[in-house]
């Protein structure tokens, strides 16, 4: 896919996530964030993925041990025979074969991502909407960062397609955020030329001036009167 088109698509996805953050508010987004962190850790074999696979395979081995006479041995109290059953179970192929590892981890990651939306809906509490939007954007970036390489995109957008450590993953998300957030500014400069700076300056000034609440006195006058009151 053309990189510009991909960036526009990603910005659209981020827009959806920020809207989701606005409606689900901060607490809901925080819950989703924790689920997404878990998804990122589980989805990568080097982080938690291999441990998860290993735990599932061991659970499966234990289960097959129980089905193949384990219950009878425990009920009969003859624990010496457990070693024999264990040796037999160990020879059987694991539930998740090494060649299926990646696809299974991807499915787990996908389930956790989908689950995170349900969790966000469930834990929707009245809290800051603005922080909700912020965490919505963070969550959107995380989902893009996790899914884009798997779906075969990301060259030129993601700094590294295979982060070796979680820290590299976090760095990658920061770099991607910087790039994606600078794109609107770049597009604005492309369309408006140097007048884009006029729009940006006006937007900041008007936004800041219009959000001041109440009060007839200036912030400076208040500060000076409070300091004289203290003295």
């Amino acid at each position: 896919m053309d990189e510009t088109l991909l960036i526009i698509l990603l910005l659209f996805i981020l827009g959806i996530f920020s809207w989701f953050g606005y409606t689900r508010m901060f607490i809901g987004m925080l819950a989703q964030f924790s689920m997404l962190v878990m998804a990122a850790l589980v989805g990568n074999p080097d982080w938690l993925g291999d441990n998860v696979i290993s735990i599932i395979n061991r659970m499966w081995m234990l289960f097959s041990m129980m089905l193949n006479g384990g219950f009878q041995i425990i009920a009969g109290g003859d624990f010496g025979q457990l070693n024999e059953i264990y040796a037999v179970a160990e020879l059987q192929p694991p539930l998740i074969l090494p060649q299926n590892r990646d696809i299974v981890l991807f499915i787990f990651m996908l389930l956790l991502i989908v689950g995170s939306f349900f969790v966000a809906n469930k834990i929707m509490k009245k809290s800051s909407r603005l922080l909700g939007v912020f965490f919505g954007l963070v969550n959107g970036l995380m989902v893009i960062f996790m899914l884009l390489p798997v779906l075969g995109g990301g060259q030129g957008i993601l700094p590294t397609l295979e982060p070796q450590t979680p820290l590299e993953g976090i760095l990658g998300i920061f770099q991607m955020a910087t790039k994606l957030l600078l794109v609107p500014v770049a597009i604005m400069f492309e369309v408006l030329g140097s007048w884009a700076i006029v729009v940006i300056i006006l937007a900041i000034v008007i936004l800041a001036a219009s959000t001041a609440r109440g009060g007839k006195r200036s912030a400076a006058a208040k500060a000076s009167s409070s300091s004289s009151g203290n003295s």
């Binding site: 800041a208 001036a209 609440r213």
Partner: protein, 182 residues
């Protein structure tokens, strides 16, 4: 000394931190003063100072070299801008906006934006003064040329390069209208 863009970035970050500490309504007063300084420097200062310098040098029967002229322009207007900003911070709060700033995350974001704007205007103008005068600081051994690729790219986006001088006058009017509107 390191690349110029690092100095620019440092100024940028310091202004953001100051804005967060002082509150963005006070910072808007500083923004107004920077707009005034920018208008004076770009509309009158830079075009007319060389003529004035020539007359003064002629009066003393001394030839004004191009490099000396560049030094004069850079140092005079850099000091003027620094003085204006210093005065804005050191008690001249006449232009501070009224009211109570937003609290919480919204206040933080607006504080960062206003601080970033002030940092860009201040740092960008100081850089611009160096750029139009072919970097007189090099003669003082403070900076080594050539600029890095990032520095050259950033130098294209310095505030006085992007908009005409009259824009700063318009901005001063807008700021005054916004201030008295409430």
């Amino acid at each position: 000394m390191g690349p110029l863009e690092i100095l620019f970035l440092t100024i940028f970050i310091i202004f953001i931190l100051i804005s967060l500490a002082r509150g963005y309504l006070r910072e808007l007063g500083v923004t107004t003063m920077i707009f005034v300084a920018l208008f004076l420097i770009t509309e009158f200062g830079v075009p007319y100072l060389p003529q004035l310098l020539e007359r003064v040098y002629d009066f003393f029967n001394v030839t004004l070299t191009t490099r000396a002229e560049q030094h004069w322009i850079a140092i005079t207007f850099s000091l003027l801008l620094i003085l204006v900003v210093f005065a804005s911070y050191a008690g001249l709060n006449t232009f501070a906006f009224r009211g109570v700033p937003q609290k919480g995350f919204a206040g933080f974001v607006i504080g960062v934006l206003v601080g970033a704007l002030n940092g860009y205007l201040f740092g960008g103008t100081l850089w611009w003064l160096q750029d139009i005068t072919y970097y007189p600081v090099v003669d003082l051994g403070i900076l080594l040329l050539p600029l890095t690729i990032t520095g050259e790219t950033l130098a294209q986006y310095l505030p006085p390069y992007l908009v005409p001088p009259m824009f700063w006058a318009v901005m001063v009017m807008i700021m005054l209208i916004l201030r008295v509107r409430r």
